[in-house]
């Protein structure tokens, strides 16, 4: 049984401009000890979906099911949900500066996380555990730094504090929401390395939410690609990078400067993502898709298995056989002949 299984999750917000459909029927599963990468651009619903599952999307209409260790999170009372958060699930976020309370010492904040779920732990024991954790996540001189305030740490060190806090009670799942986006490349490498180590040591499953396919390639076992609140494709990481099916995934790959031809033209996806208010019927990617046909704008394709590739599913009507797909690709995908399209 999967550690976390999200089924047909829908998240909607009421705004002044209308009903925002942030997540539209998303299902995915995380196995124990595995890393699931959720990748998508801004507004794709990648953060909202996990936050909603754990009761963070305040004021949102959430429906669907989110089975964590066999129990539905969305059906839990506040008290039950709190017992899960922090203890069974740890979370780290994009901006480690604003994610730590500026007015409390970091040690105090870690101690609070420990004692929130087990009052029997003495403050002294919790404190030495906090120091241990800080040492574990690579903070030098933890005995001294435990009494410092967040603003006295660098960005990378703050993220380490966040990780120490999230891992305090050795949760079975760590949700990392763009944990390296605000960090410099060399610090990002440190944090990714640390997450890999912790996963090995504690057997913690990780959900890595990111917009960076490089991070996904480095750390994920399985990947879910979100676009406009829907899953476009999901696969094991190698399948996704080497045998992607969905044109959106293809577009993302082609846009990347590091995989594209050096000094050549990158191949961007033309146009802009759709508005989340009153989404059009059909495949949300159809307006930007070079393979789109009239049928794509009428009905959204189902998320279906690719034959011969376990766990690989794609929501696109393109041929399921690789050869047929490749043939089509060659006829439609000729970047050199494409002129720049006005960005309307």
């Amino acid at each position: 049984m999967a550690l976390l299984e999200v089924l047909d999750l829908q998240v909607r917000f009421d705004t002044a401009d209308g009903l925002v459909q942030a997540v539209r029927g998303v299902s995915f599963a995380v196995e124990s000890g595995h890393t699931l990468g959720i990748v998508g651009e801004s507004g794709s619903g990648k953060s909202v979906s996990t936050q909603a599952a754990f009761g963070f999307a305040r004021g949102a209409h959430v429906s669907g099911r989110a089975l964590f260790e066999g129990r539905d999170l969305l059906a839990m009372s506040d008290r039950e949900l709190r017992a899960v958060r922090g203890a069974r699930v740890g979370m780290i976020f994009q901006d480690p500066l604003t994610s730590l309370h500026p007015m409390y010492r970091v040690g105090w904040q870690i101690v609070e996380a420990i004692r929130a779920h087990d009052r029997s732990v003495t403050k002294r024991a919790a404190r030495s555990r906090a120091i241990e954790l800080m040492a574990r996540v690579g903070i030098p001189q933890p005995e001294r730094r435990v009494d410092d305030y967040p603003h006295q740490f660098s960005g990378g060190m703050r993220q380490r504090v966040m990780i120490a806090m999230a891992m305090a009670l050795t949760p079975s799942l760590l949700i990392a929401d763009e944990p390296t986006t605000a960090l410099d490349p060399t610090v990002q490498a440190q944090i990714l390395e640390l997450l890999r180590e912790l996963k090995e040591d504690f057997g913690t499953a990780i959900i890595m939410i990111t917009h960076d396919l490089g991070v996904i390639a480095e750390i994920a076992d399985d990947v879910v690609v979100l676009y406009a609140g829907k899953i476009m494709e999901e696969a094991a990481v190698r399948d996704l990078f080497y045998h992607y099916h969905h044109p959106y995934t293809e577009g993302l790959m082609a846009s990347l400067p590091s995989t594209g031809v050096r000094r050549g033209e990158l191949v961007p996806i033309d146009g802009q993502p759709p508005s989340p208010i009153d989404p059009l019927p059909g495949c949300p990617f159809a307006p930007r898709c070079r393979y789109a046909t009239a049928e794509c704008t009428i009905e959204a394709p189902q998320l279906l298995e690719i034959p011969g590739e376990p766990r690989h599913r794609s929501a696109c009507v393109l041929p399921r056989e690789r050869a047929a797909r490749q043939a089509l690709r060659e006829t439609r995908f000729a970047p050199a002949t494409r002129d720049m399209v006005l960005d309307r």
Partner: protein, 337 residues
Amino acid sequence: MLTPPEAAAPHELGAPSDERGSHLSVRGARSIEGRSPWRLAFERLRRDRLSLVALGVILLIVLVAIFAPLIAKGTGHGVYTQYPTTGLTPTGLPRAPSSAFPLGTDDLGRTLLVRIAYGARVSLLVGVLATLMTVTIGAALGLVAGYFGKLVDTLIARAVDVMLSIPFLLFAIALASVVSVTPLHLGPLTLGKGIPIVVLVIGIFSWATVARIVRGQVIAIRSREYIEAARALGASSWRIIVFDVLPNVLPTIIVYATLLIPVSIVAEAALSYLGVGIPPPTADWGSMIADAQSYYQQAWWFLTFPSLALLMTTLAFNILGDGVRDAIDPRGTPFKS
């Protein structure tokens, strides 16, 4: 590194609605003309029913102020005229509302309705003039201090500190008392008691807050990249202030001005209540309430109607001010005044 935050907060998801239209072929003439932030704010305000009611009340008060002489003519009672026989009881007390005196009379047997109508003139005039003065001085100093920084900023910031340390009412009282002994001569202008000095006093004491708010905003705006872009283009400081900084502080200034009008009206009424504002016999709500205080046991109307007029006016302006603020910055925080 700066990546747009994942749209967790619903308002961020609210993309302009015609972006969606751009994927369809229905791109009408409507999408070509941009929707200015001002027009969007105006449209939001138009949907805010409470604000519209407040606006209606304000318009009514303005009309009453403008047509006060007509009201006087209609009732047949002058604003200063005392009616010792019809307007006072045999024991010399004010008369209760009646067909002759719709809102009753005051302690001198004058008709309250007409005096309240005339009082609106003073309140609105002082409220608007004092606000204009405050906002002009405050915004100008705030802009200059915030944009140029350094010595100018230090000087203005200290001046603001001083002005905020001086208790307004006390100082207003002090100033009024000096003026009442020896009128102030400002060039051709002689300021004795009355509207000009009240406006001046309120203006002098309120600009500091405006300056401080504007300065804070300008400092925030100054660090925006569009200001740097303008500098990179070679635009002069004044051009940048007028075209890039001012339009972006203007919403704050407008919201603050709307909220400052009732504050000024109350300040004027308070000064008059204390006897250092508009001198009698000019009809003024503040001094009417002061006079009525001695008669609250015998003549409730004398106290009630001027109080209601004042309360309605300030309430209407405050509601409108809140509405304007919400319209200009839909997720803005309530204004601190």
